[in-house]
């Protein structure tokens, strides 16, 4: 099973590769639009700053590859910044893909980034989350969050600084998680395994 990991040269993809290798998939970091379009699963990783990432995305024509997948419902996983890129305009600067309606504002909190292990509360069921327990800890590191127009796309939320933000969204073949499953220990590997099993197989 081929997993194309969008490679914009913006940081650590190795941990994501290692996680998919553990699960028996074949991870391929790539900046090639054709490869990204054709892989069994396309991953928009959670590394880099939004302005850099969105500029590189359109310069390399990778946005078109993601649009083509989304148009036919082929699976795309967005992690952290990669999830935010599924949405439209972000206040961090730069434009997302606009595949999901909504905004990407800065978190309202006295201490940012929101960094560390926090609990994910499930808001509706999704087969990829079938082995994730409500309230299980995942690793987060971000200062922005998504606010989807369509609340029915929200799979999970997380509490921070007296509020709650969206921790996971899904619509058709698109799945976005604000946390880093590849760095979330056993819980993260379980989620990635089930993404491969139910969304790709």
């Amino acid at each position: 099973m081929k997993v194309a990991i969008m490679d914009l040269g913006l940081g650590n993809l190795r941990s994501l590769e290692a996680a998919f290798l553990r699960l028996g998939a074949l991870p391929v970091p790539t900046a090639d639009a054709v490869e990204l379009e054709r892989a069994d699963l396309a991953v928009l990783p959670g590394v880099g700053a939004m302005a850099w990432a969105s500029e590189a995305l359109s310069r390399l024509g990778l946005d078109q590859a993601i649009f083509a997948r989304a148009a036919v419902g082929r699976p795309v996983l967005g992690i952290c910044l990669g999830m935010q890129l599924l949405f439209g305009e972000g206040s961090e600067g730069g434009h997302g893909l606009g595949l999901l309606g909504g905004t990407v504002p800065r978190l309202q909190a006295p201490r940012l980034p929101h960094m560390g292990w926090n609990q994910v509360h499930l808001r509706r069921s999704h087969p990829a989350f079938r082995r994730v327990a409500d309230g299980e800890h995942f690793y987060f590191t971000h200062s922005y969050h998504v606010v989807p127009d369509a609340t029915e796309t929200v799979l999970a939320t997380t509490d921070y600084a007296g509020g709650a933000f969206v921790a996971a969204v899904a619509q058709g073949g698109l799945l976005g998680v604000q946390f880093h499953p590849e760095r979330s220990g056993d819980a993260g590997l379980r989620l990635l395994a089930d993404i491969l099993e139910v969304m790709v197989a």
Partner: protein
């Protein structure tokens, strides 16, 4: 609720884990991959690798160590030691570090923090700050504690946050490896000066010290080495006690 983190630190010299007291008298403790994996099994929330090699040859093996440790982990990894440029940071991130820790180079050229943050995001930038009491003041020291700067610690912490650091790793050299408890006033002052997570490093001598740390300050994490390397406690034992005392931690069965 956001959990308080327990972060084992591996000081690396020439590819092996070492540990000293107040940055001196380094003793060899074992293999980075084996120790990192053992601490992950114990419930560690992250791993930090700091290269303390004195030579360029020692430094060049850091990338390989980072790659090996990163591949062995399913929790986040921070790497630091000798990073002087965006390229140095990029190389460690490519090797599998999720964050890089910048120390001396940030002091010599504070713009470096912003340069790395602009490309990789501030969440990937940890400012490591080593401090020591000098008379009535607490001041910043560079080059593994050998070089005084005369700069006030809290003032510098405020500046590194403003310049793009997403996290601050604060080590009190006076407390490093002494296992006599944390400088709570200094740590609380740091959390007030910088609106980002602060990691307390240096001083944990018992689980009670960790309880005190999280009860009496707003630090986000505790970094420790000696207690774990010497087998005097485990990450799991520390977390069990924290949980009993009502401190939120991630619990893995």
């Amino acid at each position: 609720m956001l959990a308080k983190r327990i972060i084992p630190c591996l000081d690396i010299r020439d590819g092996r884990v070492v540990k000293g007291t107040s940055f001196l008298g380094l003793r060899e403790m074992g293999s980075p991959v084996e120790l990192a994996r053992a601490y992950e099994q114990q419930g560690a929330d992250e791993i930090v690798i700091l290269d303390v090699s004195a030579t360029a040859e020692g430094r060049s093996s850091l990338r390989e160590t980072v790659a090996q440790v990163s591949d062995a982990l399913t929790i986040p990894l921070t790497a630091g030691g000798g990073i002087k440029s965006v390229e140095d940071a990029a190389a460690l991130l490519r090797s599998g570090a999720d964050k890089v820790a910048i120390n001396t180079a940030a002091f010599r050229r504070p713009g470096l923090l912003a340069e790395i943050a602009a490309r990789f995001g501030s969440q990937a930038v940890v400012a490591a700050v080593d401090v020591r009491r000098v008379g009535l003041r607490v001041e910043v020291f560079l080059s593994g504690g050998r070089e005084p700067t005369g700069r006030d610690a809290v003032d510098w912490i405020r500046e590194v946050h403003r310049r793009g650091a997403g996290e601050i790793l604060l080590t009190s050299i006076d407390h490093d490896g002494q296992q006599g408890g944390y400088p709570l006033d200094l740590l609380q002052a740091a959390t007030a000066a910088a609106a980002c997570p602060v990691i307390a490093s240096g001083g944990m001598g018992s689980v009670e010290d960790a309880v005190e740390l999280f009860r009496r300050t707003d630090v986000s994490a505790a970094l420790l080495a000696s207690l774990l390397h010497e087998g005097r406690t485990t990450v799991g034992a520390i977390k069990r006690q924290l949980l009993r005392e009502g401190v939120p931690v991630r619990w893995t069965a």
